[in-house]
């Protein structure tokens, strides 16, 4: 049944997504890909490129322009034997499906005491930084991490993208899978050609350090890393954590790291108010209060809508802003 897996081993993040899809489409006949332009066009970011040719129009389905329809119909498919992998063209266009996700995708298992479940994956490119038109650049992951019944995953590397997407597809519960557009083609990495998973719920320690814990995800991991490198030169040792799963996040790893370093800087693209950073602040407050040597700091988007792209570089956290915050935290 298995059709040949892409042999390429150096991949970009978006290629790793395609590879994960191809892997699961080959392994599991109940998987389907649905979305706007995912078929013939291979997706506006080419994440589903070639899949319709390989798996047919029946498995890779171009749908009408109708996010509530896509998600709502996929619920029906999911409770009746299929595993829909839905593409929402941009996270900023997921809002029409918000009701279906909020009142059904996330609640059906609870409401039927497990008799029905919704093993569905919703993939969505997100984030600013590629000069995309308005609304295309939203980073509103917290609207979903706050939704009991849903998991939220966000890879920062090609390796993790493949492993986490396969894990998400195999997960018995619905998973929102966020793909940073800015990271789609920013670098390549060796990715195994076989099927593998990266465990949902586990953060990745990007680099160990002793003075301050940096927590980031998606495109912000690289921003944090850059800041950490410069900080190192200035004698500040940063532990950089890539959160990878945004819900349920890795409480133990975060707690242990901040207990060790006594300081934390959280970096995210979303606005400060309501951002996931606040949940992380609470976690650290709850688990490392007596270890804290400075207030927990955040570097985030501002409390304004993501601007049109001429101003987006002012909106997105930069290594400079992160560095300044590290410095302030260490000097507190």
């Amino acid at each position: 049944m298995a059709t040949p897996i892409n042999r390429q081993t150096e991949m970009t993040l978006v290629q790793a997504v395609t590879d994960a899809l191809r892997t699961k489409l080959s392994e599991d006949e109940t998987t389907l890909v649905l979305g706007e332009d995912v078929g013939k066009n291979g997706g506006v970011f080419r994440a589903t490129d070639g899949l319709q040719e390989e798996f047919g129009e029946d498995r890779i389905v171009d749908t009408p322009l109708s996010e509530a329809g896509i998600v709502g119909t996929s619920i029906g498919l999911a409770i009746n034997g299929f595993k829909p992998i839905v593409e929402i063209q941009f996270l900023g266009f997921i809002y029409p499906a918000y009701e279906q996700i909020m009142t059904h995708v996330s609640r059906i298992r609870m409401r039927t005491m497990g008799r029905y479940s919704v093993p569905m994956v919703i993939r969505a490119p997100y984030g600013a930084g590629i000069r995309a038109p308005e609304i295309h650049s939203d980073s509103t992951e917290a609207l979903f991490t706050s939704m009991p019944g849903l998991k939220v995953v966000c890879p920062a590397t090609p390796y993790d993208a493949k492993g986490l997407l396969i894990a998400a597809i195999e997960d018995p519960d619905p998973v929102l899978f966020l793909e940073s557009m800015r990271s789609y083609r920013s670098f390549k990495e060796v990715v195994p050609s076989e099927s593998y998973t990266v465990e949902i719920g586990k953060a990745r320690c990007v680099s160990e350090g002793t003075d301050v814990t940096l927590i980031a995800w998606g495109a912000m991991v690289q921003v944090a890393q850059k800041a950490a490198t410069v900080a190192q030169e200035r004698g500040i040792s940063c532990e950089v954590l890539d959160l990878r799963t945004l819900y349920p996040f890795d409480r133990e790893t975060i707690a242990a790291s901040v207990q060790k370093t006594g300081r934390a800087v959280i970096v995210h693209e979303a606005a400060a108010m309501g951002g996931l950073g606040n949940d992380l602040v609470t976690l650290i407050n709850d688990t490392a209060f007596l270890y804290l040597r400075a207030p927990i700091a955040r570097v985030t988007g501002f409390d304004v809508p993501v601007p049109l792209f001429a101003l987006e570089d002012h909106y997105i956290p930069t290594p400079e802003r992160v560095l300044a915050t590290i410095q302030r935290t260490v000097e507190f």
Binding site: G72, M110, P148
Partner: protein
């Protein structure tokens, strides 16, 4: 448009056959089965209202007046079909095979009331129209599997105003899903009369927007409902795609027990309406098939069944606080697990 979608009837309001072509289909057996089920769910419905008044049930949505629509449609389904109801369609779900005790539990805020029997009955959709895409998806899944099973979405006149109605209709038609969109047009969405809900004269005509067949029927004529539904189900099973059915009906009572219909309509309008059960009773009488003893037995049987269900509901095990946590995910995330343990611990002392 009304002339393009005339209300189709098989018997008139006095229970007289008006569609002669159907004469041989209206068997005694069918008529008695329809009547029996309608009587059964009415017994349930009235009891539920009573229980609510006595504080033994939460807010309840009655369906009196819509029995022909609900029973006629549900009886046309087969065991493997899928039913996606609203909060007012437990007449249909009970007819299709939902458990009566669980139906009562639902109205007491018990999650056990959402868990379907062996039949595929989805928990009632509370957010209006959201179940329509679900039914389309479940039907599409059956088509993909190559079965002959269909799905039915029940929904009201008000539901047609929501985006989910539109998006579901469009998907149903584009993917030719074997789904029946069964609309009970009871002419009110809580207090809002249909003239304020839509500018179209009929709901049936909305199917034209999707190139979908549709039909407008007298929803209080159990035969018209049954045969129309049967034809739509047959078409869906044989690959003919979706159908929209507009069953014109009327709710006699309040929107829910929390609602006061006299605020927005003259309840005399309800009293003037022909009761769908009376209408079928008249038909049986015209045919000479109505038997007082049978009726007596029916009453006793249904009374007993409903009473037994009420007793079972009231003796049902107490709500289990574990259920607050345990079904959120297949495996509970650490934080929810911790919250649960902390809460149980605190309660323990």
């Amino acid at each position: 448009m009304e002339q393009h979608f005339p209300i189709q009837r098989i018997i008139d309001e006095e229970g007289r056959l008006i569609d002669a072509s159907k004469e041989h289909d209206l068997t005694k057996e069918l008529a008695l089965t329809l009547y029996e089920q309608m009587h059964r769910i009415r017994t349930f419905d009235r009891k539920a209202i009573n229980l609510q008044r006595q504080g033994r049930l939460g807010t309840y949505a009655p369906f009196e007046g819509q029995e022909a629509a609900q029973v006629g449609s549900a009886l046309a389904l087969s065991d493997q079909d899928w039913l996606f109801p609203t909060y007012r369609d437990h007449g249909a779900t009970l007819t299709f095979g939902a458990d009566m005790v669980r139906t009562l539990l639902y109205w007491n805020g018990r999650v056990e009331g959402c868990v379907p029997s062996e039949k595929h009955i989805f928990p009632p959709a509370v957010p209006i129209a959201t179940q329509i895409p679900h039914a389309v998806g479940a039907a599409w899944a059956e088509k993909r599997k190559g079965t002959k099973n269909v799905a039915v979405a029940y929904f009201g006149d008000g539901a047609t105003s929501e985006g989910d109605f539109h998006e579901g209709m469009n998907f149903a038609s584009v993917f030719q899903a074997p789904v029946i969109l069964f609309n009970q047009n009871n002419q009110f969405a809580i207090s809002v009369p249909i003239e304020k809900q839509m500018h179209s004269e009929t709901i049936a005509q909305k199917a034209i927007a999707y190139g979908m067949p549709s039909v407008r029927i007298d929803g209080n004529d159990a035969f018209a409902v049954y045969f129309t539904m049967q034809a739509a189900v047959e078409r869906a099973r044989s690959g003919g795609g979706p159908t929209l059915i507009e069953a014109v009906t009327w709710r006699f009572g309040a929107h829910t027990t929390a609602d006061d219909p006299t605020k927005y309509r003259d309840q005399a309008r309800s009293r003037d309406r022909v009761d769908p059960l009376d209408r079928l009773e008249q038909f049986l009488k015209h045919q000479g098939d109505f038997d007082e003893t049978w009726m007596q037995q029916l009453q006793e049987r249904h009374q007993a069944e409903v009473e037994a269900a009420v007793t079972a509901m009231e003796q049902f095990k107490a709500p289990d606080v574990n259920d607050l946590f345990d079904h959120t995910y297949a495996t509970l995330p650490v934080d929810v697990q911790q919250q649960k343990e902390a809460y149980l611990l605190a309660r323990g002392k």
